[in-house]
């Protein structure tokens, strides 16, 4: 157990070292969410067509857009895994004494670290265009903890997918096919109650909705009535995917 935890920290350290050498991806990936908030957000808020429970529309979508970006980062983390499979890195890692599950969870949480940086970079821009955050550091820290763990779960999805889709091209396709429905069938851009009934059903099983709900409550509305339920949903999501990804990880090099 201790050894597993240690290996996870090593994987996180690896990710931090990579980030230290090259942060370009963080910057380029920040362009899209900034456009969502700055352009889409301000246009839609002037329409006032979406009931947001009293908060300005830009404020409403800021957590959603943050989570969308971090989810994308995590889902496409699998590309790194596919690359490591094509090179010999995964083979070598799997011949070390480190356990499979510590590799999977470690790599997933490493992607969580990347996600935190990705979310942080959007933060000052949002403040600049006037998004009002709940002025509570504890809420802020908790929100980013939620992002960290949720991203870990999404990265585990990507590892799971990577163990089936062993080439980059296939992975790119399936990555898009996963992220876009997750995003649009969630409460990131509009409240769930606005959705058609079928989509609403789907949204109940969409982990992204719970993450957005928790982060929106913590950062924007200060409404924590659903928080416990959200955290529970995220915990179940993480646990389930860590297990599934660990089981399938071995087939990745076969």
């Amino acid at each position: 157990m201790m050894e597993g935890l240690k290996n996870m920290l090593v994987m996180i350290e690896l990710e931090l070292r990579r980030l230290r050498h090259d942060r370009t991806e963080i910057y380029t990936r920040a362009v899209q969410p900034i456009l969502w908030i700055v352009i889409y957000g301000s246009v839609m808020s002037s329409v006032k067509a979406i009931p947001t429970g009293g908060v300005p529309y830009t404020d409403f979508i800021t957590p959603g857009v943050m989570i969308q970006t971090t989810t994308f980062v995590s889902i496409f983390y699998g590309l790194t895994i596919v690359w490591e499979r094509e090179s010999g890195i995964l083979k070598k890692l799997l011949v070390t004494p480190a356990s499979r599950y510590s590799m999977v969870i470690g790599r997933s949480m490493a992607s969580g670290v990347r996600a935190i940086f990705q979310a942080l970079i959007i933060f000052p821009i949002a403040v600049l265009i006037g998004v009002k955050f709940v002025p509570n550091p504890a809420y802020f820290i908790l929100a980013f903890t939620v992002i960290f763990f949720a991203s870990g779960g999404f990265a585990a999805i990507s590892i799971l997918v990577a163990s089936f889709m062993k080439t980059r091209e296939r992975f790119m396709g399936i990555g898009q096919a996963i992220t876009m429905p997750l995003f649009f069938a969630s409460n990131a851009l509009y409240p769930i109650k606005m959705m058609p009934p079928i989509l609403r059903e789907f949204s109940t099983f969409n982990p992204l909705s719970y993450v957005v709900d928790a982060v929106r409550g913590l950062l924007i509305t200060g409404d924590l009535s659903n928080l416990l339920m959200d955290l529970l949903a995220i915990a179940i999501f993480d646990a389930a995917l860590f297990i599934l990804a660990s089981i399938s990880f071995r087939r990745i090099i076969e």
Binding site: E3, K6, N7, V10, E13, L14, R17, R18, H21, D22, E86, S87, G88, I89, K91, K92, L93, L94, V95, T96, P97, A98, S99, I253, E254
Partner: protein, 331 residues
């Protein structure tokens, strides 16, 4: 005492079709450098991947220091280090950082870490570039970094899949000298695949040749060469008269295995050095005077060609070819 590697009737069939290993039997003694030679697609990499617990065999058994690679995989992984054929380091961090990450994964204690890493870098001649990003390294430097990774722990056995691919002859020599020292100092068994015959000849204590998923022969390099039947002494004779039945007379000598004349006189013997003086004396007594002598000894290439044949491999995996080309290009 347990063998370092013991393989019994190992079979591996990929996807129910491709028979990569077809009943391999093999024992490797601890502390030896063992070379596995074979054409592309012969099953060399598959065997290494089974021994390093990456793949499950279809049938048969394999042990590393007495541990079953299927049932005791976790224990096996504590004893081995492995360099895959493909590139296996992160290119977006420095060489030092790569070693640091692996040292941590291998559980090298904190106090020893720096020393162990410095030693590995020094051994592979990478100290001066240790803080550079690996993507700025040449192919040869990357290969040396990978071998340095495998030297971080003092494994009981190293599995090296084409360890010197992409290295120039000078780097190959240095790498092997370091590996040899490492082997002697820590009693490490080295199990490697290679395409370079001279490498197996020079550095392997024992050699096995694998073809179409089966071990076709094994032994020490000298034994394998001797098994080809002997060495050839080639005489260029002066054009003066010698007895007409010279060839028949040489044939009668008891240490001569065969003679033929095609302008030069070629004599097949068991051991060229010890029989040469007698032959020279005999030729003199027959009235022949020798202008030039050369000794042709069988090489490991000849051994390889005898057991594997000269045909091209029938099919390989495209990915193998790509990796090979990549490695060579980077070198």
């Amino acid at each position: 005492m347990d063998f370092a590697v013991q393989v019994k009737n190992l079979v591996k069939v990929y996807d129910g079709k491709v028979r990569a290993l077809n009943g391999v039997d093999l024992n490797v003694n601890p502390g030896e450098a063992f070379a596995l030679l074979g054409p592309n697609g012969a099953g060399k990499t598959t065997l290494i991947r089974i021994l390093t617990t990456q793949l499950k065999p279809t049938a048969g058994e394999a042990y590393v220091f007495g541990l079953n690679v299927i049932h005791d995989g976790g224990k096996v992984r504590k004893l081995v280090s492995y360099v895959p054929q493909e590139m296996s380091v992160w290119t977006d961090i420095s060489g030092y950082e790569n070693l640091l990450i692996y040292a941590k994964i291998f559980g090298v204690p904190k106090l020893e870490r720096e020393k162990v890493i410095d030693e590995a870098l020094e051994n592979m001649g990478l100290t001066h570039v240790k803080n550079d990003l690996v993507k700025t390294y040449s192919g040869g430097m990357i290969r040396r970094l990978e071998i340095a990774c495998a030297m971080l722990i003092k494994p009981k056995i190293m599995f090296l899949d084409e360890p010197t691919i992409g290295l120039d002859p000078a780097a190959r020599k240095v790498v092997w000298e370091r590996l040899n020292v490492f082997k002697k100092e820590y009693g490490v068994t080295i199990f490697f695949n290679t395409h370079y015959m001279d490498e197996a000849d020079l550095y392997a204590d024992e050699i096995a040749i694998i073809n179409q998923g089966k071990i076709v022969t094994r032994g020490k390099s000298e034994e394998l060469k001797h098994s080809l039947g002997g060495e050839i002494i080639e005489f260029t004779l002066e054009k003066t008269a010698h007895k007409p039945d010279l060839v028949q007379n040489i044939q009668k000598l008891n240490f001569v295995k065969g003679v033929f004349e095609d302008g030069n006189l070629s004599v097949l013997v068991g051991d060229a050095e010890s029989t040469l003086p007698d032959l020279m004396n005999f030729l003199k007594s027959e009235g022949a005077s020798v202008e030039k002598v050369s000794i042709i000894k069988p090489t490991l290439d000849d051994v390889f060609l005898k057991y594997v044949g000269t045909q091209f491999e029938e099919k390989g995996r495209v990915s193998d070819v790509r990796h090979m080309r990549d490695m060579i290009r980077k070198g």
